[in-house]
C-alpha cells in the first residue's frame, strides 16, 4: 500500500472470527458434507481446450489442475470464472462450478461471488485485453478493495480471439492489423500498475515454467486477499516468440526472484523483500524480460473481512434481532 494513502490500523477493528460470522448468517449456510473424495486431475478435466496447438494456455491449464490437486479444496466449493478472450475460455476446460461472463467484467462478477459466499475459493482467468484494457478500471478497484480471490492473467501481448489487433501490453513497434506500421502507444506495465493499485499479492510467471507457475498460483490461492499472477503465455499464431527472451530453451534467461530469508547472512541483503513497495517498483521497471516470482506480498484487511466485521457490529447493535423483527421495527418507526 502506498504510504500516501491514509490507512486505518488493523488493530482498531474488532477481531472477529469469520467462521463465527458465517455461522450466525442464515444466508450463508454451507451444505452438510458427505465423505470426501480427493480432487484429482481426472475429476477436474472437462471439455478439450479449443486453443491452437502450441498455445501457452495449455500449460497454464495443466498447472492449475496440479494446484487444485495440491490444495484439496472441496470440489463443489471451487469456482472458476472468466471474461472474454482466448484464455477466458478456461472455465469450459475445468470441471468445477464456474462460467463465462462478459468482456472485462469478470473481476466485479467474481467479487460478488467472493463477498456473497465466504466458503468458496474463487479463481478468475483472463487475458491482457480483458484485464488491462476493457476491464482496467475493475482491476484497480478490486485491488484497492482487496477482495479475496485469485486472478490469473494469461498475457500474450496481443488480441488473439479477434485475430491480431494491438493489445494494451503490445510493445511499441509490434505490427498488428490495427497498427500495420507498428504499435505506437506506451504499453501498460502490469506489475507497476498492480503495485500502484494496492493489490496485496502480485506475482509474475512464464507458461514454459510449469513448476514456477504451480508455485505462484498455489501461493496466490493461499493468500488472504486479492492475489494476481501475470503469466506470459505465448500466442503461437499471432505473436510467436514473444517471450523467448525469458525461455532458457530458446536461448533466453528465466531470472527467478529470490526472496529475503531474514537469516542475517550477507547474501540475504541482495534478496528481494516482498513487503517493500519501492523494491517491487524497481523490479517492475527492469528492462525486458525482467524477473519472475513474487513482486509484492502484504497483509491488509480484506473487503470480505471488513464486511463481515460490519455485519457483526450491526448485529451487536441490534442484539441479533431476526429479519422479521428488524423490518417490523423499521415500519414501526414510520407509523
Amino acid at each position: 500500500m502506498s504510504t500516501a494513502v491514509p490507512s486505518i490500523p488493523t488493530e482498531a477493528l474488532p477481531v472477529l472470527s469469520l467462521s463465527a460470522v458465517s455461522q450466525s448468517n442464515p444466508s450463508n449456510g454451507a451444505p452438510a458434507s458427505a465423505p470426501r473424495v480427493p480432487v484429482t486431475k481426472k475429476a477436474l478435466t472437462a471439455d478439450h481446450p479449443t486453443w491452437c496447438p502450441g498455445c501457452g494456455d495449455f500449460a497454464v491449464l495443466a498447472a492449475f489442475y496440479r494446484v487444485l490437486e495440491k490444495l484439496q479444496y472441496p470440489h463443489e466449493n471451487i469456482v472458476t470464472f472468466a471474461g472474454i478472450g482466448c484464455s477466458s475460455r478456461f472455465p469450459y476446460f475445468v470441471n468445477t462450478h464456474g462460467g463465462h461472463f462478459i468482456h472485462g467484467r469478470s473481476l466485479p462478477f467474481a467479487a460478488g461471488i467472493s463477498l456473497g459466499r465466504d466458503d468458496l475459493h474463487v479463481f478468475v482467468f483472463g487475458g491482457d485485453g480483458d484485464g488491462f484494457s476493457i476491464g482496467g478500471n475493475h482491476l484497480v478497484h478490486t485491488a484497492r478493495k482487496n477482495v479475496r480471490l485469485t486472478y490469473v492473467i494469461m498475457d500474450n501481448f496481443v488480441y488473439g480471439l479477434t485475430k491480431k489487433q494491438t493489445s494494451p501490453t503490445s510493445p511499441i513497434g509490434f505490427k498488428s492489423k490495427t497498427d500495420p506500421t507498428g504499435a505506437m502507444d506506451q504499453p501498460i506495465n502490469p506489475m507497476r500498475t498492480l503495485v500502484n493499485s494496492g493489490a496485496t499479492f502480485i506475482a509474475r510467471s512464464h507458461a514454459t515454467q510449469v513448476n514456477h507457475m504451480i508455485d505462484m498460483m498455489t501461493r496466490a490461492a493461499q493468500h488472504d486477499g486479492f492475489s494476481v499472477v501475470e503469466i506470459l503465455s505465448e500466442c503461437v499464431e499471432f505473436y510467436a516468440g514473444a517471450f523467448d527472451a525469458a525461455n532458457p530453451r530458446k536461448g533466453g534467461a528465466f531470472r527467478n526472484i529470490e526472496l529475503k530469508k531474514n537469516d542475517g547472512t550477507p547474501e540475504d541483503a541482495s534478496r528481494h523483500d516482498p513487503t517493500d513497495e519501492l523494491a517491487a517498483y524497481k523490479l517492475a521497471t527492469e528492462p525486458w524480460p525482467g524477473s519472475f516470482g513474487i513482486f509484492y506480498e502484504v497483509k491488509r484487511p480484506t473487503k470480505n473481512r471488513l464486511e463481515a466485521d460490519l455485519i457483526a457490529r450491526a448485529r451487536e447493535r441490534t442484539k441479533g434481532a431476526g429479519d422479521l423483527d428488524l423490518l417490523q421495527a423499521s415500519f414501526a418507526r414510520l407509523r
Partner: protein, 613 residues
Amino acid sequence: MVGSNFPTAGAVTPGASLVQTVPDAVIRLAGNSQDGIQTIGGFLARLAGRSDQDVMTYMTIPSTISGGPSIFQVRMGTGEILSAGDHADFLVAFYQHSYDAHIHSLRPGGVLVYDSDHVKPDPEDKRFTAVGIPITSLTVEAVGGATKDKGKNIFVLGLLARAFNLDVEKLRALVTERFGGRAEDIVRNAMLAFDAGYAMPVENLLGHCYRFDQNPRAAGQRQQVTMDGNTALTYGLLAAGVRHGSGYPITPWSSIMEMLRTELPKYGGVFVQAEDELSAVSQALGFSYSGHLAVTGSSGPGLSLKMEALGWAVMAEMPLIVVNVQRGGPSTGLPTNVEQSDLLQAIYGSHGDAPRVVLAPRDVEDCFYIAIEAGRIAREYSTPVLILSDFGLATRIEAFEEPDLKKLMADPKPDLSGRGADYKPYPLERTTRHAPPGSRMDSGVYPVVTGLEHDEMGHPTGSPELHTKMTAKRREKIKRLAASLPVPEVFGEAKGDVLVVGWGSTFGPIRDAVKTLRAAGEKIGQVHLRHVHPLPPGLEEIFLNYRHICVVEMNDEGLYGHGQLATLLRARYANPAIRSIAKTDGLTFKVREIVEGIKRLQTTTGSNGKSHA
C-alpha cells in the same frame, strides 16, 4: 371538480363558526432547499399518516449541490387522496422569488401566508386572502442566540398547526423523534420556534381556522405507515429476501442504495458501492450466481450502462432485480424531474433477442409490493426483473396500511442442496434452476453458466438448431409467466366510450381524472398496468369494449405520434383506437391535463388527437 374540496377563505359569513371543517387541503411551502421545508412537509405527512388520514406530497428540488428554490406540497385529509393537487389552497412564501414563482399555483380564494420580512405581495391582487407575518424576525426573536433564521420552518409548522387545528402533541412527538439524539438545544430551539408559530392568532388574521374531517380507522384495518417511494421500495426488497446488491450513485436512485448499505448488514447481507455501473450490475450478478438473489439499480443513463450485463443475465438465465428510478432524459437530461421515458429501454435495451420482465409500481405502497413480486418472478423464472419507478414516486410521501410482514417475508437462503445425476443447467423442456457453487453434483459434472449460446449442459454451441431452440426456451418461459398473471382490473365502466390506460406513477392522477369525468356522466373506465412486460392476459378483450383507448404517459409522442406504452400496445393489439396522451414537461400529470387530453381524443380521430381533415 378538479383539486381539493377546500372552502374559499373570503366566503365566510360573519357570525359563522370560527372553525371550518374541510375534507382535505393542499398546502404548498415555497422557499429555498436549505430552509428545511422538506422536513416540515415530512412532519405534516407523517402526522396525517398517524392520524389515519390520507396524504400525498409533491416536491421539486433544484439540481444544485446546495440551495436554490424548492417547493414541498402536501395534500392531506380524509378520503382517498390520489394526487398532490393541481392547485394549492394554502401557500406559504418564504421569499419574493417564492411568491413570484408560485402565486399562480394558488387557487383563487385561497390563502397566502408570506414572510413580510422578505416578501412584498402585489397589493392590487385581490384574488387571495393574503396574510403577512414577519416569520424571519419572529423566529430569530423566539429562538435567540446565534442560530440566525434557522428554525423558521418549524415556526411555520406551529403556524399551520394552529391554522388547521392539527394535533400538537403528535407533532411535538414527531419533531422530538426527528431531532432527538442530537444536541439538546436543537430540540429546545425547535420547540421554541414551534411555540412562537403556534402563538400567532392566525384565526383572527384569516377570519377563521380549519379542521379536517375525522376519519376513524375501520375495524381490522392496520395502523398506517408514512414514507416515500424509495423507502417503500427498499423495504420491499428486504421483505423479498434480497440481502445482497451493488450500485453506483445517481439521482434519484441513490437513496435506495444508501438505505440498503445501512440496513443490509443488520440482516447479514452486503451492499457494495461499485466503481461504476458496469461493475455494479456485474457484482450483483455475481451475488445472484453465488445463490443470493441480488439487486442493482440506477436511473436512466446508468441503466444504459448496465445493458450488456443484462443481456448476459438473459442468456445465462440468472435471477436479478434491477431498479430504475426514471428521470428526464436523454443523457443527463433533467436529473431532478420526472419522466417515464425508459420503458422501451427497459424492455428492449441490450443486444440480441433478450426477453426479460418489467414491472412498474403504481404508488408508494405498491413500491413495497412490487419489489416482492419482482423477487418472486426472478426466482421462479430465473430471469432479470426490472422495476420502473420514477423521480415523482421516489420522492413522494404517502401513508398506507402497514403491511402484514409475517405473511410476506421471503426466505433469503440459497439453495445449496445436492443436485441429482440428471441435473442440467439449461434444460430445454424445463425452466432453468440455477445450482449455485457449493451445490454438490451427483453426476460429478459441474455446471458452467455462460453468455455464449449453449447446449443443455452449458457447453458453447454454434448449432443453428440449438440457437433456435434456446431462444425459444428463453421466450417461452416469459410467456408462461404472462399466462399466469391476473387479468387487469377495470375501474369504472366495464364498457363505454373511453378506457384510460396507464402504467407506473400516473395511477393517482388518472384515477382522479376518471372519477371526475364519471361524475360528469362520461362512460369511462381505467386499466393500470403493474406488469408492463410481459403484458397480462385479457387486455385485447377489454380494449374491444371501448371506442377510445387513451394511453397516458410521461414521455414523448415520438416520430409516429404515440408514447412508448401506446406504441407497444398498438403493435401488440393492432387496435387503431389506441392513442396517446403524452407530455414531456418533467412534471407529474395534473388531473386537469388528463381530463383535457381525454376530451381532445374523444372529439378527434387519427393519431394523438390531431384531427384528420
